[in-house]
Assembly symmetry: C2
Homo-oligomer: 191 residues x 2
């Protein structure tokens, strides 16, 4: 039920989960999550319904699992590797990368958001907040604004960023990312 240590899973289980995730991702491009039944997902995945329930308690959990995978990919690819940047540059680059990541998965995330199935998009927020908190607790960030609680700041910026992303995802036609990023700079009061 979580991606951690998925290596130790039986080959059959990996295959089943992969089939289910791919089926859900496909179906989400066709109609809203609400209108998908477990039966639909299983038919598309060519997996027996009882097998589905052996892995997930309901379709929400499968969606959660799908988003969890994207989370990991996002964290792995979006954090700048260059430690010499200023805190400000670091955060702005990270924000830009996150934004680009969502842009790459625009169709899938839009499907999640538009279908009342966005419950678990907030797992992304929790994930982002965790990473940010870790970052902001580092000495170079602490030195900049010592009076701010990193935990509070992390929740604040993670929520703000995700709100902008949700908004951008729902914009049609998509707003230019540059516009959001330019504005974002105004909101980061550290150097």
């Amino acid at each position: 039920m979580n991606y951690q240590n998925e290596d130790h899973l039986d080959l059959r289980q990996k295959k089943t989960r992969r089939l289910l995730v791919e089926a859900l991702a496909q179906l989400l491009t066709e109609r809203p999550f609400q209108e998908l039944s477990v039966v639909d997902i299983c038919r598309r995945a060519m997996v027996h319904r009882t097998t589905f329930y052996a892995h997930f308690n309901d379709k929400q959990e499968l969606l959660h699992y799908l988003l969890e995978g994207l989370e990991q990919e996002c964290v792995a690819t979006c954090l700048p590797q260059d430690p010499d940047r200023s805190p400000r540059e670091y955060l702005l680059t990270a924000a830009q990368n996150v934004f680009q990541f969502f842009a790459q998965h625009r169709t899938l995330y839009r499907a999640c958001l538009n279908s009342g199935a966005d419950t678990r998009v907030q797992t992304l927020e929790a994930c982002a907040a965790g990473e940010l908190c870790r970052l902001l607790s580092e000495p170079r960030f602490r030195a900049v604004s010592p009076q701010v609680d990193p935990e509070v700041a992390a929740r604040f910026y993670a929520g703000a960023m995700l709100s902008l992303i949700r908004w951008w995802l729902s914009s049609e036609p998509p707003l230019p990312a540059s516009h959001l990023l330019a504005n974002l700079e105004q909101f980061i009061p550290i150097q």
Copy 2:
């Protein structure tokens, strides 16, 4: 299905919706939303199940409706009436009031958040963003930071604020609100 112009509803409809909303609010204090069935809600409300479906398509929609009512109350009570304050004071007071509002409904909102039923809490965010956008478009705010798009700023702060609130709601024992509000001041770069 929305609170707007609810006055024109038949008395019986008002009664039915009220009973259903009250039943749901009660049940949410007893067990998580996921574990509630439409049957449960109807039994508690003493309303026939077919009547439920005449008003709402599913239990999520009922929850949405419940939160919609709280939204209206929140907007009506949290915006400062004093127009002479500085933008900074105005925003901080509004934030403080919103925070207090959630504190008053802590049990209910916690029930929503903890039960995987928080899908519609984001209607609160959309609502907050709408109000904020309206505010930030006013001349006194525009004059302070003309290079920022009010729409972007509204989404940014609404998301940030709601993220903090979600975090605070899930804290056990509850963090002192003063701590969050003190930190919040650091994040508002206007006077």
